[in-house]
Symmetry: D2
Subunit: 456 residues, 4 copies
C-alpha cells in the first residue's frame, strides 16, 4: 500500500439535522447505537513482532459506515435517484430494493426515482421514462435476477447532459450502481454538479462480478457467481469423466482478475487446470497446457479446464475493439482453446472428447443467493445512511468485514488481482495439482503488476 | 478484549524436515510461497486518529496458517486420524475430504483412519470398526450432508481411554472436528498424551453451526445454515401472507447466540420480529411481543417471527436436563410461543392463523453450499499444514479473512454473541422494524455479558 | 368403475359467437385446430384379448378440453372472478396467472376480479377488498409460492350469501380453485345461481396436494410436493445414517391417501418404512413396526420412516375435532410415533437417536417446480376455454394425459386411493423392503374401500 | 396408428421357476400382486360416440410390465450386464442403480457387470476394464449426473464382436440404455445371439433426452431437461428484459422433435418465439422471424427466442457430416440466428442487444430431478422383471401412464413429433403469441410427416 493513501471522505457540508431514526447514543444500554465519523478501522492487518503503528492520521483510517445521529438532508426535501449501469450482476435488484426501503421506512423519503438503462437514461435522446420507486414496487424484485431499472453500457462520458438532467429533475441524492467506469463517471458528474454549486450527494455502490476492485473486500454478486460457476464446473466434470478421454472446458468471467475461476476451483476439486489472467501459461513446452493435459488424460482419462475470460490474452490475437463502456473487447479464449486443443490431439492422433461451456449469461442473470442478498441489503442501507449524512463522491465498501466509506478517488483507478504468491492461489495450485508454473519462457515474473490479493 | 490474550501456538518441537510440497521461498517470482511462523496479523482493527499501536509482542499477534517449508513429521511415519463429534453441520464431509486429500496428495501420507461416531468411536465398549480413508473413499462425499464418519455426542470426558486408543492405534496426528465441548476434550486428550510423552499433534477444526465461537470469524456450515433458514422463512412468509391474519413462526438454531436468526432476517425483509438470546423480550406490556404483534396484524394482516432456540429462555421454565455433550437442554421456545400466541389472540377474540415450522434437522443435514465448500476445503488443508508443522492444541480459524492458528486454550472458553449495540443487530432492527427494546422491565442492560460481535 | 357413470358436461346454452382466437378448422394444414365437443376419450384403458368395447354412448366418454370455435360469452360482456380456497398448494399462483393471461390475451377480457381469502371473501362481514387482476399484476407471481389472492378455509356453505355477492358484482364467470369441499361448494353455488336464472359459468380447478381426487390423474402441485418431500427424506436419511442407531421420521401430507409418501419413497431408496392410510400397520407383533424397526437397526444401524399424516389413525385416539373446511382433525401420527418408538427402545434398553421432521408448511408454501408450472399454465388456459364455451359445473381434469372436462357431480364425492394391490404400492414395498403386511391381526383386507390407483 | 401394429413381446421360452419375490396371487387381500402376461392395455384412447372397439387380438394390446410369478432364469445362474450408450442424459445413474438394486435385493443376483463407455466397452481393442456392480457401488450415484459406467457413441454396428464378448463373459442378461441407434444395435445383437443359440435376454431402456421415440410416452430425463431449460430461459428473459431492446436467444436439444422447447415455453410465458423442427419458419417476409421480432421489440422492448437445435435446418447449409452414432451433424442454428439477427438489425439501423446461450452440456449432465428419479427407479426395476421373465428384444416403456413391454422392432424405427395441429403446440402458440404460421411460402403443410403427438 503506497503511503500516500488518503481515505478522507468528501462531504457536502455539516450535518445538523436530527436523524429520524431512533437509536441510542449511550454505550452499554443494549440498544443499537448511531455511528460517528470518528469510528475508524485499519486497512492493513499484517504485522510483525516488534512493529509499531501510528500515531494514525485521520486520513489513514477508514471511516465506518452506518446511520449518523445528525443528517445533512431534511428528508422532506430529498429527491433520490438510483441508476444501474453496465452488465448484469446478481444482487442489483437487492441493492435497489434496500436503498428504496431504507429511504422510505427509515427516513420517510417518498420521492425516489429510478433512472432507466444506466446513464443513458439521463440523456434526452434516449427518451426513456423514469420509474417511481416505492416499497410496493420493489417488494419482490429480489426474487428475479437482473435489474428492474434496466441497465446499459455507455453514456457516462456525457457529464454535462447528465448534470443537466439531474438539475432538471431536482435530484439531490444519486446512487450509482456500477463498475469502475460507472464510478469514474459518477465522480465526474459529482464534480460537475459541484461546479454548478448544486448540493447533490453522489454515492456509488461498486458492482463488479469479477470482484476486482481495490479496497473492496467483497463485491456483491460475486459469491453467487462463484456458486453458479461451481455448478457448471460440476457438469463439465461429469461430461469429462463419463466418456473416453473427456475434456470439460469452462469459461467464466474475469477480464483482468481470476477470482471467480480461483474460488470456483476450490469448491469441489473438480478442476485440473485453472487458468487466470494473473498467471500466464504456454500451450506448448514441457509445462505447457497441451503436454500437461496429455499427461493428465493418460493418468486419469479425463480433465477439467476452468479458464477466466481474460486469461491467456497474449496467446490470442488482439481484437482491437472496445465495447460501449470502453472496455477492450477480448478475444474469446474459450473458443480459442477448444479449437487449439482439438487440433493438438488430432495432431498426436489421440482420441479426446471436448465439451465447451460458456455460462456467462446464465451466471450474470441469476438472482442473488441468500448470503449475497444479506450483503446487498446491508450495502444498500449503508449507502442511504452515507447520503443522508451528506457524504458524496463516496463508495460503499467492505474492508476487514466492516462497512466503510471509501472515497471514489482512491478506488476507481486501481484493480485488485489474484496474488500468485499468496494464500488463495497457493490453495488453487495445491487443489488442482496443476504445474506451479505453466509458463516455461516466463521464468521471470510477468509484468502485469498484480500486487494485492483479494481478502477472503 | 482483555489485555492478557496470548496467541502463542503450542508445538511438538522444531520442524526440520524439508516439506514434500514444492513452493517458492522467493518473493517476486510469481510462484506461490511457503508461509513462515513470523507472518502474523492483528486481531483488533478498530482504531482512532492519534492512536498508537505496538510495539507488538509476538503473542499478541495471530500466526498465519499455511504450508511451512520445514515440517515436523516424516510423512512416511504419519498415521493420521479424523473424528467428527456432536450434531450434524453442513460441511463436515467437505472438511474430512480436504484433510484426506491434502494428507494424501500434498504430503504423500497413506495411513488415514476415520474414527466412527465421535469420541465414542475410541471407546472399546462401542465396538465400532474404524474406516480406512483415501481419496477414492472421500471422492464424492461432499455431495451429501452429514459426515461419513458418523457423529455422536459424549465420550469426550473419558480422556484416559481415548488416549489409550490413540496409543494402541499408533496415531500421531488427530483432527478433531467439533464444537467447544469437543475442543475442550481435545485439549485434555492432548495434555494426557503429553503426560505420556507421546508426540501427537492434535488439531481442532471448530464446528458450530451457530457461529458462536470467539476469535473465529466464520464457522463452516454457518452460511449454508443461514441460506436454508432463509428458504424456510420465505415459506413462512408466504403462509402468513396468504391467509387471514397469518402468523409464520420459525425456530432456528442458536442456543446462546442468535447469529443465524439475525443474518436470516436480513436476506429478504420477510421477518417482522427477530428474537435472539442476546436481546430479551417480554410477552406482555406495551412493547412486548403480543401487543407488537397485534399492531402489526392490524396494520398489515400478517407477520413473521423468527426465533433462535435459545431466545426467551427466561420466559419458559427450565428443563433442568442436559444432553450427552453436557449442553443444558433448552425448553422449546418455538412450541411455547405458538401456544402462548394462540391463547393470547383467543383471549382478545381476534382470528389468527399461526403456522409453526421447526426446520432444524433439515438445515443441519444439508450439504454445504459452494461458498462453504470452498471454505471447508481450505480449512481442512490448512489443518493438515498445521499438523505437519508440528503445531498442536491448536484450532484452525479465520480472523480478518485470514487463516490463522488459534491456541485451543484461548478459544474454547469464550463465546461470541450478537452485540446488540453493534452494526449487525442495528441492521436487523432497522430491517424488521421491530421495537428497539421489547423488554419493558429490562430498561437496564440484561446481564448475559455479550461483548463481542461476530465480524462479518 | 360403476356402469352408471355419466360424463356429460353441463352447459349454459348453445355457444354461437365466433371465438376471437384464430385457429384452423382444417386438419392437415399444420396449423393448430379448435377442439370440438365430439372429440372424446376413453377413461378405462385395461383390456383383455377377445374383449369388445362399445358402441360407446356419448356420456361414457370424456370430452376433450380446449378452445372451441364458437363461444357462449361475448368477451366484451364478461366479468370473470377467481377464488382460491383451503390450504396452500404449490402452483396456485401459476393457475391464477394462466387464467388471467388467457382471459386477457386470448379473449380480450379486461374485467377480472380476484376474490380474497377463499369463499369468505364473498361474505360482506369479511370486509375484504377485491383485487383487479391484469397481466401486469400477475406478471411474476408464479415465482413465489402461495396465492396472491389469499386463501382460507370455510364459508363455502353460505351459498345464498355467495350467490348474492356474485349477483351484486355482476360476475358471469367464476373460477374456483380448491379441493373437494370447495368444489362441492361450487356446485351448490352454481345450482343456486341457476335457480336465480343467472347465466354464470362455474369452472373448478381441483386442488389437492394429496392427489386424491377420483378421475383426476394429476393434481397440480403434487409433483412439487413430492420433490420437496424427497429433499426432506434425504435429510432424514443423513441424520439417521450418520449417528448411532439413528431413526429419521418424516411426516408428510396425505390425509386419506398416501400418494406423496408412496412416490417420495421411490425416488432415492432412502425410505425403509412407508406408512400410508391405505395400508394399516401394527406397532407390536412379529411384523409390527417396532420389531421390524429393531431388526432393521440391528442389521443396518439406521432407518428412515416416512409416514402420511392419515396413516395409523386407528392407533391413535380420535380428536373428535373438525377444521373450518369440515375436515376431521387428525391426531398427530408423527408425534405419536416419535414418542412410542422412543418408549419402546427405552423399554428394551437399546440406544436409538430419533429425529422427527414435519415439513408440511415448507412443502405447501413452495413455488411450483417447472413441470408443475407447465401443467398449471395449461390447466388455467383450458379452464378459460371451458368457461368461454359456456360449460359450467365442470372441473378441469387430466385423464390419460389428456385435458378433459369433468362434471363436478361425478368427481366431488369420490376419492382416489393408493391401490395396495397395484403397481405403485408394489414398487414401494419392493423398494423399501418393508414387510408386505405389517398388520398381523388384519389378515383380512381393511375396510377403507380403496378401489382405484392413481395413474402415473 | 396403422392397423398392422403387432405388440407381441419376444420371449426366450416358457418361464417355469417360482419367483423369489413374495407377492400375492389373490385379488382382494390388500397385498401387492404379481402381474400376468394377460394383463394388457389399449394404446389408442381416442373414441367417438357410437364407436365399437374389438374384439381385441392379443397383439393389438400392450402387455403390462411388472414382476411375474414364474421366472425364466434361475437367479443363481444369472450374469447380468448393463451398458449406457450415446450422449449423457439425466437419470442414467438412477436407471443403473435401480437395475442393480432390483437384481440384487429382489432376485438375489450377485453377478452384475458394468460395461464401460457404451458398446465400445465390448470391443477388445478398447481395452476398458469392466466394473463389478453391487448396491454399495451404486449407493449414491444418483446424486451426480452422467453415468458411472461411462458412455460413448459408436461401436453398435460391430455386432459379431459384441456377441463374441457377451459369449466370452457368459452374460445372459443385457440391459442396453440408449437411444434409437443403441436399441437398433441391441436388436441386431440379440438376433446374432439367437443365431448362436445363446439364451440371452436383451432388454432396452430407451434414452432420449428429446423425448422423441414413438410409443414411449415419457423418456427418462426429459422432465429434468425441461426444468433446466426453463431456468436458462428465465435467465435469457432477464438479460433481454433488463436492457435496451434485449434479445435473449437460447438453443436447446431437439434434433428432430421440439418437445423440450415446446414444454419449456409453457412454464413461465417468458418465450416469445418458440422455433422447432416440426414448424418451419422464414427469416424474411411479413410473418417471418425478423419482422415479427422487430414488431415485438417496438411493442415491448425485449424478446426471448427459444430454438430447438433441429429447427430451421432448411435455412442453414447442410454440414454433410455425421457423428459416431451415425446422426447427421446439424448446422448450428443458434449461432446462425445470432449472426443473422444481428446483421438484420444493423441493416435497419436499430439498436439491439442480443445474448446467446447454449446450455446443452449443462442440461445433459444434470442429475435427475426427484420425479425423474422416481420414474427411473421404477423403469429399472421393471426392466429387471422383464428380463427375469425371459422377455427379450423388448423395450421398457410407459404408455397411458402404465409400464409396458414394447417389442424393439416396433419402436426403433419411428419417431414421435410435436403435432403442430394438436394440443401441445396450440398451447405453445397461444402462450408465446407468436404468429400461428411463420412460414409465408409454406402455406401448404411441410413434408416432414409428423403424425403423432407426445402424450402428456
Amino acid at each position: 500500500m503506497p503511503d500516500d493513501f488518503d481515505f478522507s471522505v468528501p462531504s457536502l457540508g455539516e450535518p445538523n439535522i436530527q436523524s429520524p431514526i431512533k437509536m441510542s447514543t449511550v454505550k452499554g444500554d443494549s440498544i443499537a447505537n448511531y455511528v460517528s465519523d470518528s469510528e475508524r478501522i485499519l486497512f492493513e492487518i499484517d504485522a510483525a513482532a516488534g512493529d509499531t503503528r501510528g500515531p494514525f492520521k485521520t486520513e489513514e483510517l477508514l471511516e465506518r459506515a452506518g446511520p449518523r445521529e445528525k443528517v445533512y438532508f431534511n428528508p422532506a426535501h430529498v429527491h433520490a435517484a438510483v441508476v444501474t449501469c453496465g452488465g448484469l450482476c446478481p444482487g442489483l435488484n437487492n441493492v435497489v430494493r434496500a436503498i428504496v426501503r431504507c429511504l422510505w421506512y427509515s427516513y420517510g423519503i417518498k420521492r425516489i426515482t429510478g433512472i432507466k438503462n444506466g446513464y443513458r437514461g439521463f440523456l434526452s435522446e434516449s427518451n426513456f421514462s423514469t420509474l417511481e420507486l416505492d416499497p410496493e414496487y420493489v417488494d419482490d424484485i429480489q426474487a428475479r435476477g437482473g435489474t428492474v431499472l434496466g441497465s446499459a453500457r455507455g453514456g457516462g462520458d456525457r457529464v454535462g447532459e447528465i448534470a443537466d438532467a439531474i438539475e432538471r429533475l431536482n435530484i439531490n441524492m444519486l446512487f450509482t450502481i456500477g463498475g469502475d467506469g460507472t464510478q469514474r463517471g459518477a465522480l465526474e458528474i459529482a464534480e460537475e454538479l459541484e461546479r454548478r454549486a448544486l448540493r447533490v450527494s453522489v454515492i456509488g455502490i461498486p458492482k463488479t462480478i469479477d470482484n476486482d476492485l481495490s479496497f473492496i473486500q467483497r463485491s456483491f454478486g460475486f459469491e453467487t457467481a462463484v456458486e453458479k460457476a461451481v455448478d457448471v464446473v460440476r457438469g463439465a466434470h461429469v461430461e469429462a469423466h463419463d466418456t473416453i478421454n473427456g475434456i470439460g472446458l469452462v469459461k467464466v468471467m474475469g477480464r483482468e482478475s481470476g477470482f471467480i475461476a480461483a474460488y470456483a476451483a476450490l469448491a469441489m476439486s473438480d478442476v485440473n487446470f485453472c487458468l487466470i489472467p494473473e498467471s500466464p501459461f504456454d500451450l506448448d513446452g514441457p509445462n505447457g497446457l497441451f503436454e500437461s493435459l496429455r499427461k493428465r488424460l493418460l493418468d486419469r482419462n479425463h480433465a477439467v479446464i476452468l479458464v477466466a475470460e481474460g486469461a491467456g490474452q497474449e496467446l490470442v490475437s488482439e481484437t482491437g475493439e472496445t465495447d460501449l463502456s470502453g472496455n477492450k473487447r477480448l478475444a474469446d479464449i474459450g473458443v480459442f482453446l477448444k479449437e487449439k486443443i482439438k487440433a493438438y490431439f488430432i495432431s498426436i492422433d489421440m482420441e479426446v472428447n471436448i465439451k465447451y461451456i460458456d455460462p456467462s449469461y446464465i451466471i450474470r442473470s441469476s438472482p442473488a443467493n441468500p448470503n449475497d442478498s444479506i450483503y446487498c441489503s446491508r450495502l444498500g442501507a449503508h449507502a442511504v445512511h452515507a447520503a443522508m449524512a451528506g457524504k458524496t463522491k463516496t463508495l460503499m465498501s467492505m474492508v476487514n468485514n466492516t462497512f466503510v466509506h471509501l472515497p471514489m478517488r482512491v478506488a476507481v483507478s486501481k484493480r485488485k488481482h489474484v496474488n500468485t504468491e499468496g494464500s488463495l492461489w497457493r490453495d488453487v495450485v495445491e487443489n488442482t495439482r496443476q504445474p506451479v508454473n505453466m509458463c516455461d519462457k516466463g521464468e521471470k515474473a510477468h509484468e502485469k503488476g498484480m500486487k494485492q490479493e483479494g481478502k477472503k
